[in-house]
């Protein structure tokens, strides 16, 4: 690797020595960065001027902070190698994480190092400076200060940050005529409105799945997309460990308007158009004894509802009804009332103060801003961290109105749509670059600490607001610290502050449950039951969300749950709806809705409700980096403020053209093969009682495997726990320097993910049963790949790992042909790009592979090696749980267990002794070290699903 010019030391005045980060490059870290297998070049060593304490070269440090999505924070530990944040892990101390993460947290480091991030202040699209902006803003202050702030408007997303809220409140106190608007495309409007309907005051519902034995989800994807979903997924599966306590298994009923992972994991799932769920909710409420008028026709079998109601009623205090953010407020209110009647309040559901600092109706707030802009009342508009030119309902015409604002400022990570049209654009500091704070789904606060100085001189909203308000203290660290000094106070503030930073949670900051009394809300008239009009359902994209991650290549290439699509969005509809219109996958249609038209490719998704379209946000971008624009279609272009979540009256016109989509899984059926197993709970109880049974495949070995005398690594994957969220896939990508290959290569079937999550549909297209199966390398003891490698690049080590030696690989690809599990990945082209900022993200402990080299899951060999060296220096064996693979660490539901099979007490060994344990393709006699526990369904005895 050629010598790197050391960067100037960043000024951290006021930052405690402990968190001082250096950016000088030492060779130890750069060893692994150059393309793995090329000829060496002379290197040079640049020593530190002063070595920071703790920062021994090549040893990683972990810092606790939080990453937020739609304002809600989730605690993380960020691994810093040589001062470079390279990997995000969950924070076990944080209630929203418990050590796990979702896909967004894992991808945060890539956004941080994204070379496409905005790097300079712009004025009317021309390079400018922070000082020039500060001067301009200060000049404007005299105008609005003289009018009590009239004409000054600030637009933010959902704000949970106590510091930011306090700053805004101070500003509004100072300038009472100024206005603060909040609009997050994925917001809590319906949830808060629902609590206001039910309780008369705004509350935040918080669920406890550990105590819920019967769960009914009405369009709520609590496993994957609600605030707190990582925790919910853990709790839900914690209460669902059939192998351990079968009788205590929970049962999940789901009714959904667009296929979700929650529906896929449900024991009973019904797919209805979004407008029908209201009807079902009323019918059910009536069965639960709530005095609502029963709808005349219910689009669901009475038996199904009876069974569900029976389960809810018999599990008094142990049941739970939850409603998705998409559903209107009165459905939420009905559910709150039902939960109260079922005795669930205080047990499975609690109501706290809202986590958002200002729980206003955000759509209304945006409407007001739009109106004010249209009326020319807005003189100064500060847009902090959101992209309203792209991500707002089309009928509000934000872009047109923005032209009437003389002084507009946009603070954002990218030069996105709003940045290009604002007077000023300020590059924002990434969450890993700046001081801030955030609250989790339960109100727990985390102080976000920077892992690195802003790479491109980005600013946090705190700093911009401080300038706006003309406050004396303009340094992010000081602003945040000042607030918490006020909050926590006391003599031992220093200690509390440090503890909070260290643990990643401010002690005792979670909100306590409030007393509530629900009342029956006034219910609006039902929509026409027989309406056959085509419905349209808006939904965040599973991976790029509302558009904030559209330039994140990891998330773009991560196959979306259920559809397995990468790089684009598509209009989802049921195969039946497609057939009626003569549509196949990739056919382009024009969707007409309320006079607006959008062209989009079609994807037929089994399990999608008929006569309904799912439109996912986040695509159809026109700016915001190199990979964001030019893919998919913009669903916001059809969204209206009148019906931001779903509505009827759409029409679809086939255009007769095709748009190629890149799906990572071409075949969706198991073809009757015994791959992803699912058993009814009764069978599980029976099998568990019987104990281990001999396999039906007799094990006859001509040659016994080699012994693994020291450690014998193995993995157990619990398919019942797996919710198909793909956090494992992206965690593995971050940990193991797995390159992104691009849409064209995915279309050719060349994606590189080391652990894929197979998704199979079983049964009819209308009501498919969905199976998820994570498939990493099986580490076969009799590995077929090894025998055919001509150069000993694929071999076994003494601990039973099937290792791939990249530097020895010549790329015959025979190993991949001979791998029955097809888990090997080949660098068909030079996929690893030599981009300096992306190189900085790379894990220095993992070789970067060059083209022509085979690679695959290594069971996180680098983590094993690190643990081994640490233990040997201490003269002991590696303890169970000391080696945690990246996929295991990220998994929200602890579906993956890894450890030493030689240790009789290890969790993996215990998991494998289950009589349900099985391996894939056992008849091939490959003796995999990775084995599976089957998924378990717990159907109501009266409901025999077809």
């Amino acid at each position: 690797m050629s010598p790197r010019q050391p960067r100037r030391e960043f000024d951290f005045s006021g930052v405690p020595e402990r968190s001082r980060r250096e950016f000088l490059k030492l060779m130890g870290a750069s060893i692994a960065l150059a393309s793995g297998c090329s000829r060496e070049l002379p290197e040079r060593i640049v020593p530190y001027e002063d070595m920071p304490e703790q920062l021994a070269a090549t040893k990683s440090l972990y810092f606790a902070t939080a990453l937020s999505l739609d304002g809600y924070g989730s605690g993380v530990l960020v691994e810093s190698a040589m001062g470079r944040p390279i990997k995000v892990e969950g924070n076990p101390n944080h209630p929203a994480s418990l050590g796990a993460t979702d896909v967004f947290s894992q991808a945060a480091v890539l956004t941080l190092w994204d070379p496409d991030r905005s790097q300079t202040v712009l004025r009317q699209g021309v390079l400018s400076t922070w000082d020039a902006f500060r001067a301009a803003l200060t000049a404007r202050r005299s105008r609005f200060a003289s009018q009590g702030g009239a004409g000054l408007h600030i637009l933010t997303g959902s704000v949970t940050s106590p510091t930011l809220a306090a700053q805004l409140h101070r500003l509004l106190d100072k300038y009472p005529e100024a206005r603060w608007h909040q609009y997050q495309p994925i917001n809590r409007d319906n949830v808060y409105a629902g609590t206001r309907l039910a309780f008369g005051e705004t509350r935040e519902p918080r669920y406890d799945f550990t105590r819920a034995r019967t769960v009914l989800s009405l369009d709520a994807d609590f496993l994957r997309s609600m605030p707190g979903h990582v925790r919910y997924a853990r709790d839900f599966n914690g209460a669902r460990r059939p192998g351990e306590t079968p009788s205590a298994n929970n049962r999940l009923y789901a009714i959904e308007s667009s296929p979700t992972l929650t529906g896929a994991k449900a024991d009973h799932c019904r797919r209805l158009r979004a407008s029908q769920i209201d009807r079902v909710a009323r019918a059910l409420a009536q069965r639960l004894g709530i005095a609502v008028e029963s709808p005349t026709s219910v689009p669901i079998e009475a038996g199904w509802l009876d069974a569900c109601a029976f389960d809810l009623l018999t599990r008094h205090g142990e049941s739970l009804i939850l409603v998705g953010e998409r559903q209107p407020a009165h459905v939420h209110a009905l559910a709150h009332l039902a939960n109260e009647r079922l005795g669930n309040v205080g047990t499975t559901v609690q109501y706290t103060n809202p986590v958002l600092a200002e729980p206003i109706d955000q759509l209304d707030s945006l409407r007001q801003l739009s109106a004010a802009m249209a009326a020319g009342e807005v003189q100064e508009l500060l847009i902090l961290g959101v992209n309203p030119l792209y991500a707002t309902p089309a009928d509000l015409e934000f872009a047109r109105h923005l032209q009437r604002v003389p002084f507009s400022v946009h603070l954002g990570l990218y030069r996105d749509e709003t940045a290009m049209r604002s007077l000023w654009h300020i590059p924002a500091a990434h969450e890993l670059e700046a001081w801030s704070d955030t609250r989790a789904y339960d109100g727990s606060a985390t102080i976000q600490q920077p892992l690195i100085a802003p790479l491109y001189g980005g600013r946090s909203p705190h700093e911009v607001l401080a300038v706006l308000a003309g406050e004396f203290e303009q340094d992010g660290h000081a602003i945040v610290r000042a607030l918490w000094q006020g909050e926590l106070g006391g003599d031992d503030f220093e200690h509390t502050w440090k503890t909070s930073l260290h643990n990643g949670v401010v002690p005792d900051s979670a909100f306590t449950a409030e007393q509530v009394t629900a009342r029956l809300p006034a219910l609006p008239p039902l929509r026409d039951a027989d309406s056959s009009e085509l419905e349209i359902v808006f939904s965040p994209d599973p991976h790029v969300h509302d558009g904030v991650y559209t330039n994140n290549a990891w998330l773009r290439e991560l196959p979306k749950p259920l559809t397995e699509l990468t790089w684009d969005n598509a209009v989802l509809m049921s195969p039946e709806s497609g057939r009626r219109r003569g549509l196949a996958n990739e056919d382009v249609v024009e969707i007409e809705y309320r006079g607006r038209r959008v062209r989009a490719p079609v994807w037929l998704l089994p399990g999608h409700p008929d006569e309904s379209l799912t439109l996912q946000f986040g695509y159809g971008r026109t700016a915001g980096g190199r990979i964001a624009p030019g893919a998919g279609f913009n669903a916001y272009a059809l969204q209206t403020s009148a019906a931001p979540s779903f509505d009827g009256g759409a029409r679809v016109h086939p255009l007769g053209t095709r748009y190629p989509l890149a799906s990572a899984q071409m075949h969706n059926r198991m073809e009757g093969r015994d791959l992803a197993r699912m058993l009814p709970l009764s069978a599980v109880i029976q099998r568990t009682a019987q104990g281990a049974q001999p396999s039906k495949h007799e094990r006859k070995l001509l040659y016994p495997p080699f012994a693994s005398p020291t450690y014998a690594w193995g993995m157990s994957i619990n398919l019942d726990a797996c919710i198909g969220c793909k956090a494992c896939t992206i965690a593995c990508q971050a940990e193991n320097n797995i390159p992104v290959v691009g849409k064209d290569q995915v279309q050719r079937g060349r994606e590189m993910h080391w652990i894929r999550v197979d998704r199979y549909f079983e049964g009819s297209d209308a009501h498919p049963r969905v199976h998820f199966q994570p498939v990493p390398c099986m580490h076969c003891e009799r590995a077929p790949c090894e025998v055919v490698c001509p150069v000993e690049a694929s071999v076994h080590d003494s601990e039973g790992l099937n290792v791939q030696v990249y530097n020895r690989c010549v790329g015959t690809r025979f190993c991949s042909n001979n791998c029955p599990y097809k888990v090997r990945r080949f660098n068909f082209l030079q996929y690893s790009q030599d981009v300096p900022s992306l190189n900085a993200q790379r894990n220095p402990d993992v070789t970067v592979r060059m083209r022509g080299v085979m690679e695959k899951c290594s069971y996180c060999l680098q983590r094993i090696a690190a643990a081994k060296i640490a233990s040997e220096k201490e003269g002991r064996r590696i303890r169970d749980g000391e080696v945690v693979t990246a996929c295991q660490a990220a998994c929200p539901t602890e579906a993956i267990v890894f450890g030493d099979l030689n240790d009789p007490a290890s969790r993996v060994r215990i998991a494998k002794t289950s009589p349900l344990d099985y391996v894939l393709l056992e008849e091939l006699n490959t003796l995999p070290r990775t084995s599976y526990l089957p998924a378990v369904e717990n159907p109501h005895p009266d409901l025999q699903e077809t």
């Binding site: 130890g28 002379p42 290197e43 060593i45 040893k59 601990e799 290792v803 020895r808 090696a865």
Partner: protein, 217 residues
């Protein structure tokens, strides 16, 4: 019919054949040289500051770990920061022109670029701390650094060189308390001592030590 070749022409032909053979051998040799490690073995390497291990270790008796402070804890032995140098050199030889870069790093923010001597390919993961913990002495790989005015590399650092020890560690290990001892010489009963140390330090067996995954990740 006449002879196709005159005997003199045949001599020329033989000469050409011999020449071609020699050229092939020379080409093979040149290829070897051209693909050698970038820093030659057993050749002192020029440095921006002519730092002498002989002086600091041999004469002054500094311990290795004074400068290479992370050798016992991390994969990388550690290159001393400039501040480490200045602990003494803020007092000693402060006016020496050869030490000027030491002060320029601070006053002019001009870093010192040391020329790297021991350089492994990027796909090799060598860890100093575990070798030191298992009784592999500094001088085993780095030679008598205390006798090097300018440092050079004594080991080939080729895979076969690594394997030489990983296949028979008993031939090289020494007691832990002699790891940093530059003057340590293998005793006459090294094999016997080595076997005892291998057992005492729980050095893994040859099969585990020669696993590909021991060094390549």
């Amino acid at each position: 019919m006449a002879q196709v070749f005159h005997p003199r022409q045949l001599l020329l032909l033989k000469g050409i054949a011999l020449g071609a053979l020699l050229a092939a051998i020379a080409a093979a040799f040149l290829y070897r040289v051209a693909t050698q490690a970038p820093v030659a073995r057993n050749v002192p390497v020029e440095q921006p500051i002519p730092f002498s291990h002989k002086h600091h270790v041999g004469d002054d008796g500094l311990d290795c770990r004074y400068c290479h402070s992370s050798v016992e804890t991390s994969a990388f032995a550690g290159i001393p920061s400039m501040a480490t140098c200045r602990t003494c050199h803020s007092q000693l030889f402060t006016d020496a022109p050869i030490l000027a870069p030491l002060f320029d790093t601070r006053s002019q923010r001009a870093p010192v670029y040391w020329n790297r001597i021991h350089q492994l390919p990027d796909f090799v993961y060598f860890n100093h701390s575990i070798h030191v913990a298992k009784g592999v002495g500094c001088s085993t790989c780095h030679g008598r650094v205390d006798e090097m005015p300018l440092t050079w590399r004594v080991a080939s650092l080729e895979m076969q060189w690594c394997l030489g020890c990983h296949r028979a560690p008993e031939r090289y290990v020494r007691p832990r308390n002699r790891v940093f001892d530059m003057s340590w010489q293998p005793p006459a009963n090294q094999l016997e001592l080595g076997r005892r140390l291998v057992a005492a330090y729980h050095i893994r067996g040859t099969r585990a030590l020669t696993d590909c995954s021991t060094c390549h990740r």
